[in-house]
């Protein structure tokens, strides 16, 4: 009895931090019961809404087409077949398109981080004469919704000014425009602004040049903000559809998001659902592994945007 109580207290210990409902209220049985019910209902609701569609997808990915069409909610009336997953992976080449997605995301991330850190460093630490003008021009792009750029940016990528080359059907067409994110630069610069100037001065006295200062001092100190920008970059690019649809016409280069709708009308339903399952399993696995980072990033986005 005693030990159970003790255990309970210990388990509660991290939760003692109260929120709207006071600790005293928590001890009142009526309130506690109501809250427990509300929480139970909420949890059940989240299970059904958040996980339900995925569970259904998992079930249907190994169910023959006819069963899925006729009795979508029945559990394997005519058995299940794991071969659809294999077919989706091998014949539909989900593996290939998945790797395309990964390459696109990695490249975009690299470009975004490079542009954001170097620009923020220059504008916040080095402070060139026209810095405020450049910053104003960057800020101005925040006011322009991305859709305005769709057609002119497309035409720009078709024929890059001065170079007269086309980036269509190369990953560069997705990678490079991703770097023009004013949001990244604003939050990165705001973070750099908050770094103590004394450290830079000290480094300068020690004889560090601007490159050394950037690489050995500023970058290591800005790990948290780089993490946040990375999470946004990865999620954003992972979700992108319209832009890669326009600029990556060669099926060999297309990411999953572009490829799946093309395949839908010409792929058997069971195999297609298996392909959908595979396409969502990997981001979900990444999410579960880096859950903390994802959620902190999202929460921070509110804080920063706020």
């Amino acid at each position: 009895m005693m030990s159970r109580l003790a255990k309970r207290r210990r388990r509660r210990a991290p939760d003692v931090e109260r929120r709207i409902v006071s600790i005293a209220d928590w001890h009142r049985p009526a309130i506690r019961r109501t809250l427990r019910t509300i929480h139970g209902v909420t949890l059940a609701f989240l299970f059904v809404v958040g996980l339900g569609p995925l569970l259904w997808l998992a079930k249907s990915a190994i169910t023959p087409t006819q069963d899925t069409l006729r009795t979508p909610m029945a559990l394997w009336p005519h058995g299940f077949d794991l071969s659809f997953l294999v077919t989706a992976w091998t014949e539909t080449h989900i593996d290939h398109y998945f790797m395309n997605t990964v390459w696109i995301v990695v490249g975009c991330w690299l470009v975004q981080i490079t542009v954001a850190t170097s620009a923020a460093y220059a504008l916040s630490v080095l402070r060139p004469r026209f810095g405020s003008l450049i910053m104003a021009l960057v800020l101005a792009t925040l006011f322009v919704p991305s859709i305005v750029l769709l057609v002119p940016l497309y035409l720009t990528v078709v024929n890059v000014p001065f170079l007269n080359i086309s980036m269509i059907d190369t990953f560069w067409a997705v990678w490079l425009p991703a770097g023009a994110s004013a949001f990244n630069i604003v939050i990165m610069k705001r973070f750099f602004d908050s770094l103590p100037r004394e450290i830079f001065e000290a480094a300068r006295v020690d004889g560090a040049g601007p490159f050394r200062l950037f690489w050995s001092i500023v970058l290591p100190m800005s790990r948290p903000i780089v993490g946040v920008v990375s999470v946004f970059a990865v999620i954003g690019e992972w979700k992108d559809y319209l832009w890669p649809l326009l600029v990556l016409r060669n099926p060999d280069l297309q990411p999953l998001s572009v490829r799946l709708p093309t395949l839908e009308p010409s792929t058997q339903l069971d195999i297609f659902l298996a392909a959908l399952l595979i396409s969502s399993v990997i981001p979900i696995a990444l999410f579960l592994i880096f859950q903390r980072m994802f959620l902190r990033g999202s929460g921070l986005s509110g804080a920063i945007k706020g």
């Binding site: 069409l69 720009t156 659902l273």
Partner: protein
């Protein structure tokens, strides 16, 4: 500081170069080009010609323009009704949870990490309008339906918004959750001293504290929903009978959907008009966030 910089002007330029090149080519130049194109007739084949305000006039006289504008506003309204109160409610309940906190957030956030294209294709199957469709089967258990979902001009838009809300709500929940955790507990303590009930505390302490973040998510949601493309494009392509043709779909339609060459001028003109409209929201947003970040 200044002397050091002027001595290393070259290295400053090196650090600025990525920004200047990337923004120059992929942001500033296309923005300028959009403005120019909206006054030109251009199809990439013959050289562009200046047509004054013709593109704007053509857009305004297109019978689809009115449809697209009202559809977009309807979409924004529905997104507000579906997507605004539910995440707030969830966040408040979740912030009070004492067990499985991680599980709540993970479940709520799960739909956000699924690629939108996968979600749409999956939900399109859920929305199968036959009595054997997934949703219709489930609703059939409680004697409802079958509903036509995407196959009816009246229900197509709400169906799209429902999926879009499902896909995006998790992110909003997490933002609210972070904001809720930032409410100082002393405020609740103080309210309790005055004998405030739980509802009173939510009404007089929590919500006022969230006012800023609520307003910001509202504006962000407006800007985001006005630019939503993937969902209506993949769910219905604007149908049935143009009932889900949004402004963005119309822009895409002008530019890319005529098999004999797009009307880039009209697409640019409509883009510029949409930008002017959204610019107002964006300006308000920045004015607000600036005043917030300086005041707090």
């Amino acid at each position: 500081m200044r002397t050091w910089v002027s001595r290393d002007g070259l290295s400053t330029l090196v650090f600025l170069l990525p920004l200047l090149v990337i923004f120059g080519v992929f942001s500033w130049f296309p923005i300028g080009r959009a403005l120019v194109m909206s006054f030109q007739e251009t199809n990439l084949v013959s050289p562009p010609t200046w047509v004054g305000l013709n593109n704007f006039a053509n857009v305004l006289s297109d019978p689809l323009f009115g449809t697209a504008v009202s559809n977009t506003l309807y979409f924004m309204l529905l997104a507000l009704i579906f997507g605004y109160p539910i995440p707030l409610l969830l966040a408040v309940v979740m912030s009070e949870a004492r067990h499985f906190k991680g599980l709540y957030s993970a479940l709520a956030y799960l739909p956000v990490v699924i690629p939108p294209v996968v979600s749409v294709l999956l939900w399109r199957f859920f929305y199968d309008a036959s009595p054997n469709g997934v949703f219709n089967t489930m609703l059939g258990w409680v004697g409802l339906g079958p509903f036509p979902w995407l196959q009816d001009p009246g229900t197509a838009m709400p169906s799209i918004v429902l999926e879009a809300t499902w896909a995006a709500a998790g992110g909003t929940v997490i933002i609210y959750l972070a904001a809720l955790l930032s409410v100082p507990t002393e405020l609740y303590d103080a309210a309790e001293v005055d004998g405030a009930s739980i509802w009173n505390k939510i009404w007089h302490v929590t919500l006022p504290h969230l006012r800023g973040i609520l307003f910001i998510t509202l504006i962000l949601q407006f800007i985001a929903t006005a630019q939503l493309f993937t969902e209506p494009f993949l769910f219905t392509g604007g149908g049935p009978a143009n009932s889900t043709t949004t402004v963005l779909l119309l822009i895409y339609h002008y530019a890319f959907q005529n098999s004999l060459g797009g009307d880039y001028g009209m697409a640019a003109a409509l883009s510029v008009m949409l930008a002017a409209f959204l610019g107002v929201f964006t300006a308000v947003y920045f004015w607000l966030t600036r005043s917030w970040s300086t005041s707090s």
